[in-house]
Amino acid sequence: MRAFLFLPLLLAFGCGETKTYESTLDKVLDTKKLIVGTEPEFKRFETKNADGEIVGFDMDLVRMLAEDLGVELVLREYSFQALIPALKNGKIDLIISGMTAKPKRAKTVTFTDPYFFTKLCLLVHKDAGIEKPADVDGKKVVVKLSTTGQDRAKELFPNSEYVVLEAEADCANEVASGRAAAFLYDHISIFEASKKHANTTRAIFESLSEEPYAMAVPLGDTKFRDRINVFLGKVRADGRYEKIVNKWMGDIPNAVR
Protein backbone atom coordinates (compact mmCIF):
# COMPACT_ATOMS: atom_id res chain seq x y z
CA MET A 1 0.00 0.00 0.00
CA ARG A 2 2.76 2.39 0.96
CA ALA A 3 4.26 2.17 -2.50
CA PHE A 4 1.31 4.11 -3.87
CA LEU A 5 2.06 7.05 -1.63
CA PHE A 6 5.48 7.40 -3.23
CA LEU A 7 4.15 7.49 -6.74
CA PRO A 8 3.04 11.14 -6.78
CA LEU A 9 6.40 12.07 -5.27
CA LEU A 10 8.24 10.29 -8.05
CA LEU A 11 5.96 11.90 -10.59
CA ALA A 12 6.84 15.29 -9.22
CA PHE A 13 10.53 14.44 -9.44
CA GLY A 14 10.31 13.11 -12.95
CA CYS A 15 8.67 16.23 -14.29
CA GLY A 16 11.24 18.53 -12.75
CA GLU A 17 14.03 19.79 -14.92
CA THR A 18 13.49 19.87 -18.67
CA LYS A 19 14.39 22.71 -20.89
CA THR A 20 11.22 23.76 -22.65
CA TYR A 21 11.32 25.05 -26.17
CA GLU A 22 8.73 27.13 -27.91
CA SER A 23 9.16 25.08 -31.07
CA THR A 24 10.74 21.73 -31.87
CA LEU A 25 12.84 23.64 -34.37
CA ASP A 26 14.55 25.49 -31.50
CA LYS A 27 15.22 22.19 -29.77
CA VAL A 28 16.66 20.63 -32.93
CA LEU A 29 18.94 23.60 -33.56
CA ASP A 30 19.97 23.81 -29.91
CA THR A 31 20.78 20.10 -29.48
CA LYS A 32 22.17 19.83 -33.03
CA LYS A 33 20.13 16.67 -33.52
CA LEU A 34 17.10 15.90 -35.64
CA ILE A 35 15.42 12.77 -34.25
CA VAL A 36 13.24 11.20 -36.91
CA GLY A 37 10.80 8.32 -36.38
CA THR A 38 10.02 5.83 -39.12
CA GLU A 39 8.78 2.30 -39.73
CA PRO A 40 11.18 0.83 -42.29
CA GLU A 41 8.74 -1.53 -44.00
CA PHE A 42 7.75 0.46 -47.08
CA LYS A 43 9.84 -0.39 -50.10
CA ARG A 44 11.29 2.58 -52.01
CA PHE A 45 10.39 4.96 -49.16
CA GLU A 46 12.05 3.31 -46.19
CA THR A 47 13.28 -0.24 -45.77
CA LYS A 48 16.26 -1.75 -44.02
CA ASN A 49 18.79 -3.24 -46.42
CA ALA A 50 20.92 -6.32 -45.83
CA ASP A 51 23.56 -4.19 -44.09
CA GLY A 52 21.02 -2.90 -41.61
CA GLU A 53 20.90 0.62 -43.06
CA ILE A 54 17.53 2.28 -43.52
CA VAL A 55 17.32 3.47 -47.11
CA GLY A 56 14.74 4.96 -49.44
CA PHE A 57 13.24 8.15 -50.79
CA ASP A 58 12.10 9.37 -47.37
CA MET A 59 15.53 8.75 -45.91
CA ASP A 60 17.30 10.72 -48.64
CA LEU A 61 14.83 13.56 -48.19
CA VAL A 62 15.16 13.73 -44.42
CA ARG A 63 18.96 13.49 -44.67
CA MET A 64 18.91 16.57 -46.89
CA LEU A 65 16.66 18.27 -44.34
CA ALA A 66 19.14 17.57 -41.53
CA GLU A 67 21.93 18.88 -43.75
CA ASP A 68 19.90 21.99 -44.51
CA LEU A 69 19.37 22.61 -40.81
CA GLY A 70 23.03 21.90 -40.13
CA VAL A 71 22.28 19.18 -37.59
CA GLU A 72 22.93 15.47 -37.17
CA LEU A 73 20.24 13.02 -38.30
CA VAL A 74 19.17 10.39 -35.76
CA LEU A 75 16.78 7.70 -37.00
CA ARG A 76 14.53 5.85 -34.58
CA GLU A 77 12.40 2.87 -35.53
CA TYR A 78 8.86 2.34 -34.33
CA SER A 79 5.90 0.36 -35.53
CA PHE A 80 3.59 2.55 -37.59
CA GLN A 81 0.96 2.71 -34.84
CA ALA A 82 3.59 3.93 -32.35
CA LEU A 83 4.88 6.78 -34.52
CA ILE A 84 2.27 9.38 -33.57
CA PRO A 85 2.42 8.55 -29.83
CA ALA A 86 6.23 8.83 -30.03
CA LEU A 87 5.93 12.26 -31.65
CA LYS A 88 3.36 13.46 -29.13
CA ASN A 89 5.59 12.16 -26.34
CA GLY A 90 8.61 14.08 -27.54
CA LYS A 91 10.60 10.90 -28.21
CA ILE A 92 11.02 12.02 -31.80
CA ASP A 93 10.96 15.44 -33.49
CA LEU A 94 9.49 14.41 -36.80
CA ILE A 95 7.74 11.52 -38.56
CA ILE A 96 8.57 10.49 -42.10
CA SER A 97 7.17 7.11 -43.00
CA GLY A 98 5.13 7.25 -46.18
CA MET A 99 2.39 8.73 -44.05
CA THR A 100 -0.72 10.00 -45.79
CA ALA A 101 -1.81 13.43 -44.59
CA LYS A 102 -5.36 12.46 -43.63
CA PRO A 103 -7.72 14.98 -42.00
CA LYS A 104 -8.22 12.62 -39.06
CA ARG A 105 -4.48 12.41 -38.44
CA ALA A 106 -4.17 16.17 -38.76
CA LYS A 107 -6.13 16.45 -35.51
CA THR A 108 -3.23 14.87 -33.61
CA VAL A 109 -0.19 16.07 -35.56
CA THR A 110 0.66 18.94 -37.87
CA PHE A 111 1.55 17.97 -41.43
CA THR A 112 4.06 19.71 -43.66
CA ASP A 113 3.36 20.33 -47.34
CA PRO A 114 3.04 17.06 -49.22
CA TYR A 115 6.38 15.80 -50.52
CA PHE A 116 4.95 13.04 -52.67
CA PHE A 117 1.65 12.05 -54.27
CA THR A 118 0.75 8.42 -54.58
CA LYS A 119 -1.85 7.65 -57.19
CA LEU A 120 -4.67 5.17 -57.35
CA CYS A 121 -4.15 3.03 -60.46
CA LEU A 122 -5.29 -0.23 -62.00
CA LEU A 123 -3.80 -3.64 -62.58
CA VAL A 124 -5.89 -5.33 -65.26
CA HIS A 125 -5.96 -8.76 -66.87
CA LYS A 126 -4.65 -8.67 -70.42
CA ASP A 127 -7.70 -10.42 -71.84
CA ALA A 128 -10.29 -8.44 -69.89
CA GLY A 129 -10.74 -5.94 -72.71
CA ILE A 130 -9.83 -2.94 -70.60
CA GLU A 131 -8.18 -0.04 -72.39
CA LYS A 132 -9.04 2.82 -70.07
CA PRO A 133 -10.34 3.04 -66.49
CA ALA A 134 -13.93 3.57 -67.68
CA ASP A 135 -13.92 0.08 -69.25
CA VAL A 136 -13.66 -1.47 -65.77
CA ASP A 137 -17.18 -0.46 -64.72
CA GLY A 138 -19.41 -3.54 -64.68
CA LYS A 139 -16.50 -5.98 -64.43
CA LYS A 140 -15.26 -7.69 -61.28
CA VAL A 141 -12.85 -5.54 -59.23
CA VAL A 142 -10.57 -6.64 -56.41
CA VAL A 143 -9.42 -4.26 -53.64
CA LYS A 144 -7.25 -4.59 -50.57
CA LEU A 145 -8.91 -4.34 -47.18
CA SER A 146 -8.87 -0.89 -45.52
CA THR A 147 -7.06 0.93 -48.32
CA THR A 148 -8.09 4.01 -50.28
CA GLY A 149 -8.76 1.61 -53.15
CA GLN A 150 -11.51 0.01 -51.12
CA ASP A 151 -12.89 3.41 -50.08
CA ARG A 152 -13.06 4.74 -53.63
CA ALA A 153 -14.00 1.64 -55.65
CA LYS A 154 -17.78 2.05 -55.26
CA GLU A 155 -17.89 5.62 -56.60
CA LEU A 156 -15.42 4.91 -59.40
CA PHE A 157 -17.09 1.71 -60.62
CA PRO A 158 -20.71 1.72 -59.41
CA ASN A 159 -21.78 -1.23 -61.57
CA SER A 160 -18.93 -3.55 -60.61
CA GLU A 161 -18.87 -6.55 -58.34
CA TYR A 162 -16.19 -6.40 -55.59
CA VAL A 163 -13.83 -8.80 -53.92
CA VAL A 164 -12.07 -7.55 -50.78
CA LEU A 165 -8.91 -9.41 -49.81
CA GLU A 166 -6.44 -8.88 -47.00
CA ALA A 167 -3.11 -9.49 -48.73
CA GLU A 168 -1.78 -7.43 -51.60
CA ALA A 169 -0.25 -10.53 -53.24
CA ASP A 170 -3.63 -12.29 -53.20
CA CYS A 171 -5.30 -9.30 -54.86
CA ALA A 172 -2.73 -9.39 -57.67
CA ASN A 173 -3.15 -13.16 -58.03
CA GLU A 174 -6.91 -12.69 -58.36
CA VAL A 175 -6.31 -10.61 -61.50
CA ALA A 176 -3.43 -12.72 -62.81
CA SER A 177 -5.57 -15.85 -62.62
CA GLY A 178 -8.48 -14.11 -64.35
CA ARG A 179 -10.90 -14.42 -61.43
CA ALA A 180 -11.12 -10.63 -61.34
CA ALA A 181 -10.71 -8.11 -64.16
CA ALA A 182 -8.95 -5.35 -62.23
CA PHE A 183 -7.16 -4.50 -58.99
CA LEU A 184 -7.43 -0.94 -57.70
CA TYR A 185 -4.40 0.13 -55.62
CA ASP A 186 -1.52 2.60 -55.40
CA HIS A 187 0.67 2.98 -58.46
CA ILE A 188 3.90 1.68 -56.94
CA SER A 189 2.31 -1.57 -55.76
CA ILE A 190 0.48 -1.91 -59.09
CA PHE A 191 3.78 -1.43 -60.89
CA GLU A 192 5.47 -4.18 -58.85
CA ALA A 193 2.51 -6.52 -59.36
CA SER A 194 2.49 -5.92 -63.13
CA LYS A 195 6.20 -6.80 -63.23
CA LYS A 196 5.60 -9.98 -61.25
CA HIS A 197 2.66 -11.09 -63.43
CA ALA A 198 3.98 -9.71 -66.71
CA ASN A 199 2.47 -12.52 -68.80
CA THR A 200 -1.12 -12.12 -67.72
CA THR A 201 -1.52 -8.55 -66.48
CA ARG A 202 -0.68 -4.97 -67.28
CA ALA A 203 -0.90 -1.69 -65.43
CA ILE A 204 -2.92 1.38 -66.33
CA PHE A 205 -1.12 4.31 -64.77
CA GLU A 206 -3.82 6.89 -65.30
CA SER A 207 -4.41 8.42 -61.89
CA LEU A 208 -7.90 7.90 -60.48
CA SER A 209 -7.25 9.63 -57.19
CA GLU A 210 -4.28 11.02 -55.29
CA GLU A 211 -3.00 10.75 -51.75
CA PRO A 212 -0.43 13.16 -50.35
CA TYR A 213 2.48 11.89 -48.26
CA ALA A 214 3.74 14.43 -45.75
CA MET A 215 6.06 14.70 -42.77
CA ALA A 216 4.45 15.17 -39.39
CA VAL A 217 5.60 17.52 -36.63
CA PRO A 218 4.07 18.06 -33.17
CA LEU A 219 0.53 19.46 -33.27
CA GLY A 220 0.48 23.21 -33.72
CA ASP A 221 4.23 23.58 -34.22
CA THR A 222 3.84 25.90 -37.20
CA LYS A 223 7.35 27.33 -36.83
CA PHE A 224 8.93 23.91 -37.43
CA ARG A 225 6.42 23.09 -40.18
CA ASP A 226 7.09 26.34 -42.02
CA ARG A 227 10.85 25.77 -41.84
CA ILE A 228 10.41 22.31 -43.39
CA ASN A 229 8.12 23.74 -46.07
CA VAL A 230 10.83 26.27 -46.94
CA PHE A 231 13.25 23.35 -47.25
CA LEU A 232 10.82 21.42 -49.49
CA GLY A 233 10.43 24.45 -51.75
CA LYS A 234 14.18 24.81 -51.94
CA VAL A 235 14.90 21.20 -52.95
CA ARG A 236 12.09 21.20 -55.48
CA ALA A 237 13.50 24.35 -57.04
CA ASP A 238 17.15 23.31 -57.19
CA GLY A 239 16.51 19.85 -58.69
CA ARG A 240 17.58 17.79 -55.69
CA TYR A 241 14.01 16.62 -55.17
CA GLU A 242 13.68 15.40 -58.74
CA LYS A 243 16.99 13.61 -58.43
CA ILE A 244 15.86 11.45 -55.53
CA VAL A 245 12.45 10.82 -57.13
CA ASN A 246 14.28 9.49 -60.18
CA LYS A 247 16.66 7.52 -58.00
CA TRP A 248 13.91 5.64 -56.16
CA MET A 249 10.92 5.85 -58.50
CA GLY A 250 12.55 6.38 -61.90
CA ASP A 251 11.48 3.01 -63.25
CA ILE A 252 7.79 3.68 -62.59
CA PRO A 253 5.96 5.35 -65.46
CA ASN A 254 4.19 8.57 -64.58
CA ALA A 255 5.60 8.67 -61.05
CA VAL A 256 6.98 12.17 -60.74
CA ARG A 257 4.95 15.14 -59.78
Partner: protein, 249 residues
Protein backbone atom coordinates in the same frame (compact mmCIF):
# COMPACT_ATOMS: atom_id res chain seq x y z
CA UNK B 1 15.59 -46.23 -30.92
CA UNK B 2 13.13 -43.67 -29.68
CA UNK B 3 15.38 -40.95 -31.00
CA UNK B 4 15.50 -42.53 -34.44
CA UNK B 5 11.74 -42.82 -34.62
CA UNK B 6 11.29 -39.24 -33.49
CA UNK B 7 13.79 -38.03 -36.06
CA UNK B 8 12.13 -40.06 -38.80
CA UNK B 9 8.71 -38.60 -38.02
CA UNK B 10 10.11 -35.06 -37.88
CA UNK B 11 11.85 -35.44 -41.22
CA UNK B 12 8.77 -37.01 -42.78
CA UNK B 13 6.44 -34.23 -41.58
CA UNK B 14 8.72 -31.34 -42.54
CA UNK B 15 9.71 -33.10 -45.77
CA UNK B 16 6.12 -33.46 -46.94
CA UNK B 17 5.42 -29.87 -45.93
CA UNK B 18 8.39 -28.69 -48.00
CA UNK B 19 7.28 -30.83 -50.95
CA UNK B 20 3.74 -29.49 -50.71
CA UNK B 21 5.11 -25.92 -50.73
CA UNK B 22 7.33 -26.69 -53.69
CA UNK B 23 4.30 -28.03 -55.57
CA UNK B 24 2.47 -24.68 -55.31
CA UNK B 25 3.16 -22.17 -58.09
CA UNK B 26 4.86 -19.79 -55.66
CA UNK B 27 8.39 -19.07 -56.91
CA UNK B 28 10.49 -19.41 -53.78
CA UNK B 29 13.63 -17.32 -53.48
CA UNK B 30 15.48 -17.93 -50.26
CA UNK B 31 18.62 -16.44 -51.78
CA UNK B 32 17.17 -12.97 -51.35
CA UNK B 33 16.58 -13.66 -47.65
CA UNK B 34 20.05 -15.21 -47.18
CA UNK B 35 21.53 -11.77 -47.84
CA UNK B 36 19.83 -10.56 -44.66
CA UNK B 37 21.31 -13.22 -42.40
CA UNK B 38 23.25 -10.59 -40.47
CA UNK B 39 19.97 -8.88 -39.57
CA UNK B 40 18.43 -12.20 -38.57
CA UNK B 41 21.37 -13.04 -36.28
CA UNK B 42 21.04 -9.64 -34.63
CA UNK B 43 17.33 -10.26 -34.21
CA UNK B 44 17.92 -13.66 -32.61
CA UNK B 45 20.41 -12.06 -30.22
CA UNK B 46 17.81 -9.49 -29.16
CA UNK B 47 15.11 -12.15 -28.82
CA UNK B 48 17.33 -14.33 -26.64
CA UNK B 49 18.51 -11.39 -24.55
CA UNK B 50 15.01 -9.99 -23.94
CA UNK B 51 13.51 -13.38 -23.22
CA UNK B 52 16.27 -14.48 -20.85
CA UNK B 53 16.32 -11.22 -18.88
CA UNK B 54 12.53 -11.00 -18.78
CA UNK B 55 12.27 -14.60 -17.62
CA UNK B 56 14.82 -14.05 -14.86
CA UNK B 57 12.99 -10.94 -13.73
CA UNK B 58 9.70 -12.81 -14.05
CA UNK B 59 10.96 -15.63 -11.82
CA UNK B 60 12.23 -13.23 -9.16
CA UNK B 61 9.06 -11.14 -9.08
CA UNK B 62 6.90 -14.22 -9.67
CA UNK B 63 8.18 -15.76 -6.45
CA UNK B 64 7.25 -12.57 -4.61
CA UNK B 65 3.84 -12.54 -6.26
CA UNK B 66 3.22 -16.16 -5.27
CA UNK B 67 4.34 -15.48 -1.68
CA UNK B 68 2.15 -12.38 -1.57
CA UNK B 69 -0.88 -14.29 -2.80
CA UNK B 70 -0.35 -16.99 -0.17
CA UNK B 71 0.40 -14.47 2.57
CA UNK B 72 -1.62 -14.46 5.75
CA UNK B 73 -1.51 -10.64 5.83
CA UNK B 74 -4.57 -9.40 4.02
CA UNK B 75 -3.28 -6.19 2.32
CA UNK B 76 -0.27 -8.05 0.96
CA UNK B 77 -2.48 -10.84 -0.33
CA UNK B 78 -4.77 -8.33 -2.00
CA UNK B 79 -1.85 -6.52 -3.58
CA UNK B 80 -0.69 -9.84 -5.06
CA UNK B 81 -4.21 -10.57 -6.32
CA UNK B 82 -4.47 -7.14 -7.90
CA UNK B 83 -1.13 -7.54 -9.67
CA UNK B 84 -2.11 -10.86 -11.20
CA UNK B 85 -5.58 -9.67 -12.20
CA UNK B 86 -4.35 -6.47 -13.84
CA UNK B 87 -1.43 -8.03 -15.72
CA UNK B 88 -3.26 -11.17 -16.82
CA UNK B 89 -6.42 -9.27 -17.64
CA UNK B 90 -4.89 -6.81 -20.10
CA UNK B 91 -3.11 -7.37 -23.44
CA UNK B 92 0.66 -7.17 -23.33
CA UNK B 93 0.69 -4.65 -26.18
CA UNK B 94 -1.41 -2.28 -24.05
CA UNK B 95 0.96 -2.79 -21.09
CA UNK B 96 3.94 -2.14 -23.33
CA UNK B 97 2.50 1.15 -24.60
CA UNK B 98 1.62 2.21 -21.06
CA UNK B 99 5.11 1.28 -19.86
CA UNK B 100 6.95 3.00 -22.70
CA UNK B 101 4.79 6.03 -23.47
CA UNK B 102 3.47 6.49 -19.93
CA UNK B 103 5.69 5.31 -17.12
CA UNK B 104 9.05 5.49 -18.90
CA UNK B 105 8.29 8.99 -20.18
CA UNK B 106 7.42 10.19 -16.69
CA UNK B 107 10.75 8.86 -15.39
CA UNK B 108 12.64 10.14 -18.42
CA UNK B 109 13.84 6.68 -19.40
CA UNK B 110 14.24 6.35 -23.14
CA UNK B 111 15.95 3.00 -23.63
CA UNK B 112 13.47 0.98 -25.67
CA UNK B 113 15.24 -2.33 -25.10
CA UNK B 114 15.37 -1.86 -21.32
CA UNK B 115 11.78 -0.65 -20.99
CA UNK B 116 10.53 -3.45 -23.25
CA UNK B 117 12.45 -6.13 -21.40
CA UNK B 118 11.29 -4.96 -17.98
CA UNK B 119 7.69 -4.74 -19.20
CA UNK B 120 7.98 -8.27 -20.55
CA UNK B 121 9.43 -9.44 -17.23
CA UNK B 122 6.61 -7.85 -15.24
CA UNK B 123 4.15 -9.49 -17.62
CA UNK B 124 5.77 -12.91 -17.16
CA UNK B 125 5.83 -12.46 -13.37
CA UNK B 126 2.05 -12.65 -13.12
CA UNK B 127 1.93 -15.96 -14.95
CA UNK B 128 5.01 -17.39 -13.25
CA UNK B 129 3.64 -16.34 -9.87
CA UNK B 130 0.47 -18.29 -10.55
CA UNK B 131 2.45 -21.33 -11.69
CA UNK B 132 4.48 -21.26 -8.48
CA UNK B 133 1.43 -20.76 -6.29
CA UNK B 134 -0.50 -23.51 -8.04
CA UNK B 135 2.51 -25.83 -7.73
CA UNK B 136 2.84 -25.23 -4.00
CA UNK B 137 -0.87 -25.46 -3.31
CA UNK B 138 -1.10 -28.69 -5.27
CA UNK B 139 0.98 -30.47 -2.62
CA UNK B 140 -1.20 -32.44 -0.25
CA UNK B 141 -1.81 -30.75 3.11
CA UNK B 142 -0.80 -34.00 4.72
CA UNK B 143 2.79 -33.32 3.66
CA UNK B 144 2.80 -30.07 5.64
CA UNK B 145 1.15 -31.69 8.61
CA UNK B 146 3.69 -34.50 8.51
CA UNK B 147 6.56 -32.02 8.45
CA UNK B 148 5.07 -29.99 11.27
CA UNK B 149 4.50 -33.08 13.43
CA UNK B 150 8.12 -34.07 12.90
CA UNK B 151 8.99 -30.79 14.59
CA UNK B 152 10.01 -28.75 11.52
CA UNK B 153 9.18 -25.06 11.48
CA UNK B 154 6.76 -23.72 8.88
CA UNK B 155 9.62 -22.37 6.80
CA UNK B 156 11.66 -25.59 6.97
CA UNK B 157 8.61 -27.64 6.05
CA UNK B 158 8.19 -25.38 3.04
CA UNK B 159 11.85 -25.53 1.98
CA UNK B 160 12.58 -29.21 2.61
CA UNK B 161 9.28 -30.95 2.04
CA UNK B 162 6.78 -28.91 0.04
CA UNK B 163 8.99 -27.03 -2.38
CA UNK B 164 11.04 -29.95 -3.78
CA UNK B 165 7.83 -31.77 -4.66
CA UNK B 166 6.13 -28.65 -5.96
CA UNK B 167 9.12 -27.69 -8.11
CA UNK B 168 8.89 -30.91 -10.07
CA UNK B 169 5.27 -30.14 -10.88
CA UNK B 170 6.15 -26.58 -11.89
CA UNK B 171 8.70 -27.56 -14.52
CA UNK B 172 6.30 -28.27 -17.40
CA UNK B 173 4.26 -25.07 -16.99
CA UNK B 174 7.41 -23.01 -16.33
CA UNK B 175 8.90 -24.34 -19.56
CA UNK B 176 5.66 -23.55 -21.35
CA UNK B 177 5.87 -20.01 -20.00
CA UNK B 178 9.47 -19.62 -21.20
CA UNK B 179 8.49 -20.77 -24.67
CA UNK B 180 5.45 -18.50 -24.70
CA UNK B 181 7.65 -15.62 -23.57
CA UNK B 182 10.11 -16.26 -26.40
CA UNK B 183 7.31 -15.66 -28.87
CA UNK B 184 5.68 -12.91 -26.83
CA UNK B 185 8.93 -10.92 -27.04
CA UNK B 186 8.10 -10.28 -30.71
CA UNK B 187 5.57 -7.68 -29.55
CA UNK B 188 8.47 -5.46 -28.45
CA UNK B 189 8.66 -4.56 -32.12
CA UNK B 190 5.80 -2.12 -31.51
CA UNK B 191 8.15 0.23 -29.70
CA UNK B 192 10.93 -0.40 -32.18
CA UNK B 193 12.93 -3.21 -30.60
CA UNK B 194 14.06 -5.15 -33.66
CA UNK B 195 14.03 -8.77 -32.53
CA UNK B 196 13.69 -11.88 -34.67
CA UNK B 197 10.13 -11.38 -35.95
CA UNK B 198 10.76 -7.72 -36.74
CA UNK B 199 13.98 -8.60 -38.56
CA UNK B 200 11.93 -11.02 -40.66
CA UNK B 201 9.26 -8.40 -41.37
CA UNK B 202 11.88 -5.87 -42.40
CA UNK B 203 13.74 -8.30 -44.65
CA UNK B 204 10.41 -9.25 -46.21
CA UNK B 205 9.52 -5.60 -46.78
CA UNK B 206 12.84 -4.86 -48.46
CA UNK B 207 12.74 -7.89 -50.76
CA UNK B 208 8.99 -8.47 -51.31
CA UNK B 209 9.75 -11.94 -49.96
CA UNK B 210 7.71 -11.87 -46.77
CA UNK B 211 6.61 -15.51 -47.03
CA UNK B 212 10.17 -16.81 -47.23
CA UNK B 213 11.23 -14.46 -44.45
CA UNK B 214 8.54 -15.80 -42.12
CA UNK B 215 9.41 -19.40 -42.94
CA UNK B 216 12.95 -18.58 -41.84
CA UNK B 217 11.65 -16.81 -38.73
CA UNK B 218 9.53 -19.84 -37.81
CA UNK B 219 12.53 -22.17 -38.25
CA UNK B 220 14.67 -19.99 -35.98
CA UNK B 221 11.99 -19.94 -33.27
CA UNK B 222 11.84 -23.73 -33.39
CA UNK B 223 15.62 -23.84 -33.07
CA UNK B 224 15.23 -21.92 -29.83
CA UNK B 225 12.13 -23.58 -28.41
CA UNK B 226 12.68 -27.27 -29.22
CA UNK B 227 15.95 -27.54 -27.24
CA UNK B 228 14.18 -25.83 -24.32
CA UNK B 229 11.43 -28.44 -24.41
CA UNK B 230 13.94 -31.28 -24.58
CA UNK B 231 15.96 -29.82 -21.72
CA UNK B 232 12.87 -29.44 -19.55
CA UNK B 233 11.80 -33.00 -20.29
CA UNK B 234 15.20 -34.28 -19.23
CA UNK B 235 15.20 -32.15 -16.07
CA UNK B 236 11.79 -33.47 -15.17
CA UNK B 237 12.97 -37.05 -15.62
CA UNK B 238 16.13 -36.54 -13.57
CA UNK B 239 14.26 -34.92 -10.70
CA UNK B 240 11.61 -37.58 -10.97
CA UNK B 241 14.06 -40.37 -10.22
CA UNK B 242 16.18 -38.71 -7.53
CA UNK B 243 13.67 -36.76 -5.52
CA UNK B 244 10.51 -38.54 -6.47
CA UNK B 245 11.23 -41.36 -4.04
CA UNK B 246 11.69 -38.97 -1.17
CA UNK B 247 8.41 -37.33 -1.86
CA UNK B 248 6.50 -40.47 -1.25
CA UNK B 249 8.14 -41.57 1.98
Amino acid sequence: MQFVSRLAITVAVFGSFALALAATDYDFDFGAIWEYRGQFYKGIGITLFCTACAYGLGLAIGILVALARMSRTMPIRHLGDLYVEVIRGTPFLAQLFIAYFGIATIFKIDNKLAVGTVALGLFAAAYIGEIIRAGIESIDRGQIEAGRSLGLTRTRTMVHIVFPQAFKRMIPPLTGELIALTKESSLLFAIGVIELTAAGKQAGADTYRTFEAFLVVAAFYLLITIPLSLLARRLERVLGTTQGAGAHL
